[in-house]
Amino acid sequence: MRDSAAPCLSEMSTGMASSVLAEIGRMLDTLAGSDEPGSIDLRSLPLSDADRAQLEELLGRGEVSAELALAGDSEVWETTYPGVWWIRHRGAGGKIASEVISVCRIPEILMTHPADIEAAASRLREKLETTDV
């Protein structure tokens, strides 16, 4: 959410975007070399709105994107650099609750958890038993 009440520095670029980009580059090298994933919490960094927009533009959007409807909306997309994912979770009032760059093969949040698979199998069994298909 933009700072809007008082004049502030949110529109100034501070150069943080290129620093983050360099860190992503190092993580991507590690992923390529040893398959070890990495991540960066964007909310923990003093990014201005301009920095964030610049970083998003520099990374771009690649082939995969997903929308998640769980306790508020979430967006996940792979950037134009395969293996670099942008994960944005929204909370109350649509504000960003968590924003992470994940450098990995596939973000954990997109994978189905074994407990959910088990629950789904059970639910489907129940449906088959009670529904005349």
Binding site: D3, A5, P7, S44, A71, R90, G91, S98, I109, A115
Partner: protein, 353 residues
């Protein structure tokens, strides 16, 4: 009462997927300033935990802390915490009243002995045998001691419970004291503020649930994740402070341009809280962004620090000592008042006060 199923089992039955846990964990890791990789451990910790029994005691308070934690937003990720806890006693929120309410407290204490968390808002009056605040025929002191006896941990929320707050301000007619003056045999986590930031309260509970231990605390018993930095350190107006550009009154050109509010009484340099990063009302704003200096409400004795509109360098009671000499850590350039404050801090430190 607490459910014997794990939270994972309980919420799966209600159609809440593990992805929701992971989303909540990602949000929690972020507000707790933990690395994003901690999200998996948090999600697993919460899924394997039992629903946490919580007994909330309200003493000399205004209910602002409860208002803060139950903020009226649409159900979303931040509110999942309310699925993770069983609020077994809260005399403002619960349906039961009178004897039934007190029976609920006793039952929760019995069923969850050694495992429940006690949250306290409000200070405890000790003068004249604590007669100035009673609930169900007993004093706040009696209720606090009785309820905390078998608790796993105690969380004091708000500046009244953590430091005495407004009831404890001069002349403190009721002899109000903070919870930590009374409960000394188990962990007391202080989440100060008037009121505290909701995320600081829910994040701390989530940490207890996920890791089964108390988060790292500062010298005043506050979680470092939320109280580790001065508001001044993360304030977006800080660059104006560095350049010596100050609003001199609330309607001058400096105020209109969004310059630093140090000279109109901002206590940001000596106040440790997460207002500048987490903000308020769902992340909309915080006092300094709205044009008003920080009151320092998360610090001990904030009500008696000589005036909300007096600069730190002139307010009585030496507020620089108040915050352990942490004020004005940054280098002010060409700012007379900031230079005075810095000199004063150095003097305080030199004298070893």
């Amino acid at each position: 009462m607490s459910d014997k199923k794990t939270l994972g089992e309980m919420l799966t039955e209600r159609g809440v997927s593990r992805r929701s846990f992971l989303k909540y964990a990602s949000y929690t890791a972020s507000i707790l300033a933990l690395p994003p990789t901690a999200a998996t451990a948090i999600a697993q910790g919460i899924a394997n935990a039992r629903r946490q029994s919580v007994i909330w005691l309200s003493f000399q308070e205004c209910t602002g802390c409860t208002e803060s934690i139950t903020r009226a937003h649409a159900p979303s990720i931040e509110d999942l915490i309310f699925d993770f806890i069983s609020l077994d006693y809260h005399h403002t929120l619960q349906n039961a009243s009178g004897h039934l309410a007190e029976e609920a407290r006793m039952q929760a204490m019995k069923d969850n002995a050694g495992e429940y968390i006690v949250i306290v808002d409000g200070s405890v009056p000790l003068k004249d045998d604590g007669i100035y605040s009673t609930i169900a025929g007993i004093t706040n002191l009696q209720m606090l001691e009785e309820t905390c006896r078998d608790a796993f941990a105690v969380i004091s929320v708000g500046s009244c419970a953590t430091f005495g707050g407004i009831p404890g301000a001069n002349p403190n007619p009721t002899g109000a004291v903070p919870v930590s003056d009374i409960i000394t045999d188990k962990p007391v986590i202080n989440i100060s503020g008037c009121p505290p930031i909701p995320e600081a309260m829910t994040g701390t509970i989530a940490y207890l649930l996920s890791f089964g231990s108390v988060p790292e605390l500062d010298h005043l018993g506050r979680p470092k994740a939320f109280f580790g930095e001065a508001i001044h350190d993360r304030c977006y107006r800080r660059p104006f402070y560095e350049r010596g550009m100050f609003a001199k009154s609330f309607d001058d050109e400096g105020a209109r341009q969004g310059w630093c509010l140090f000279e109109v009484g901002c206590k940001g340099p000596v106040s440790y809280n997460a207002c500048a990063t987490l903000k308020w009302n769902g992340g909309v704003s915080f006092p300094i962004q709205s044009g008003h200096g920080c009151l320092g409400c998360s610090e001990p004795g904030f009500w008696d620090m000589g005036g909300f509109y007096k600069p730190l360098s002139t307010a009585k009671g030496d507020p620089l000592q108040w915050a352990g000499g942490a004020a004005v850590a940054g280098a002010a350039i060409g700012a007379a008042s900031a230079a005075i404050a810095r000199n004063k801090r150095n003097k305080v430190m030199k004298e070893g006060k």
